[in-house]
Subunit: 201 residues, 2 copies
């Protein structure tokens, strides 16, 4: 079934055919819906309606609401995939170091970093968009760690603030020596902090 | 001697009299000079020249270059005054908690917070202004702690990133429970982190 057809093959008014176009159409609709409703209240059904496509097609392209958001914002990874993998990948007593290394490695690539910094800039300057970004951080990122590692939300938010601050000071403000320090040197400093936040006092 | 006069009492062309006006004139000139030259290369002499006043008058109103910057950016405190006081105020083994409490208390007041967040927004979005802000952070804030407590610059930058991140997540992104948590509850979490960064591994 193409994007322009219903399950019975009949063309619906306002729908356009063409797969490449359809994907872009869904992402444009998603940006509009996320901006209007926030992350929590946006639904795949609502995004599909806005894009004038079948909801099954949104699932087909992006799998989940998290996936649509990640694609719409051009983020370099989907936390619903990356976080469980990162947690499972090694021992719990090193998850702080793994988290720090993961964020520093992703943001080392300018192409992956730019959309993340774009979202940071939006959060810092756009009062309307900040709700959507807050909900995504809370639900799609922090909620997953809080739940699977049993970390109190306040501590997890302070841990997130540490990583956010390091990325901002390294790649936006570009404080030296932080801006050009080796990733592993920063992991040695920040990793134990994250681990303490995760493990408790 | 008024702002419009030289040391010999002769009026210079382009100078205007009036103390209230002169102060504003100096601050406008300072904003221009800091934006053009950055914090490091700006001088009281250059700001005085731009404002068409005597350098002694800039010293008289603002004491130091740090003081001019703080007034020009409407910051709620002058680090050249606040940091030495904060360090001397209690035992070294509690300086992490004092730093956290100080930043959280200052930014709890919306009137004091707004210019700080303004500077943060500028740093995040204005490629030209970021150099000036980086130099101010490095020289006027971090340099002072690095020197008086003997902390390696990289660790001090990571400590600063933690405080920056907490303020951004508490007051801009407004993650809950961080946005409404008691100051002392956050000090209990962040204080030991800052202390570890200051004391070494």
């Amino acid at each position: 079934m193409s994007a322009g057809e219903t399950e019975t093959g009949r063309r619906r008014p306002g729908r356009r055919p063409g797969a490449a176009d359809t994907r872009g159409q869904i992402l444009a609709a998603a940006r509009k819906i996320f901006a209007e409703k926030g992350f929590d209240k946006a639904t795949i059904r609502g995004i599909a309606r806005e894009a004038a496509v079948d909801p099954a097609l949104v699932h087909h392209y992006f799998d989940s609401k998290d996936g649509v958001f990640v694609a719409a914002m051009r983020l370099p990874m989907d936390p619903s995939v990356a976080i469980p993998r990162l947690i499972a990948e090694g021992p719990r007593e090193e998850v702080g170091r793994r988290l720090a290394r993961f964020i520093l490695t992703i943001t080392a690539d300018p192409q992956a970093r730019e959309p993340v910094l774009g979202l940071v800039r939006t959060a810092m300057t756009n009062e309307q968009a900040v709700g959507m970004i807050r909900e995504f951080i809370t639900k799609a990122i922090l909620g997953r760690v809080v739940e699977s590692l049993g970390v109190p939300p306040l501590r997890m938010e302070v841990a997130f603030a540490q990583l956010f601050g390091v990325v901002a000071m390294r790649h936006v403000v570009r404080l030296e020596p932080l801006a050009t320090a080796d990733i592993e040197e920063i992991v040695d400093i920040v990793g134990p902090t994250l681990q303490r936040y995760i493990d408790g006092p």
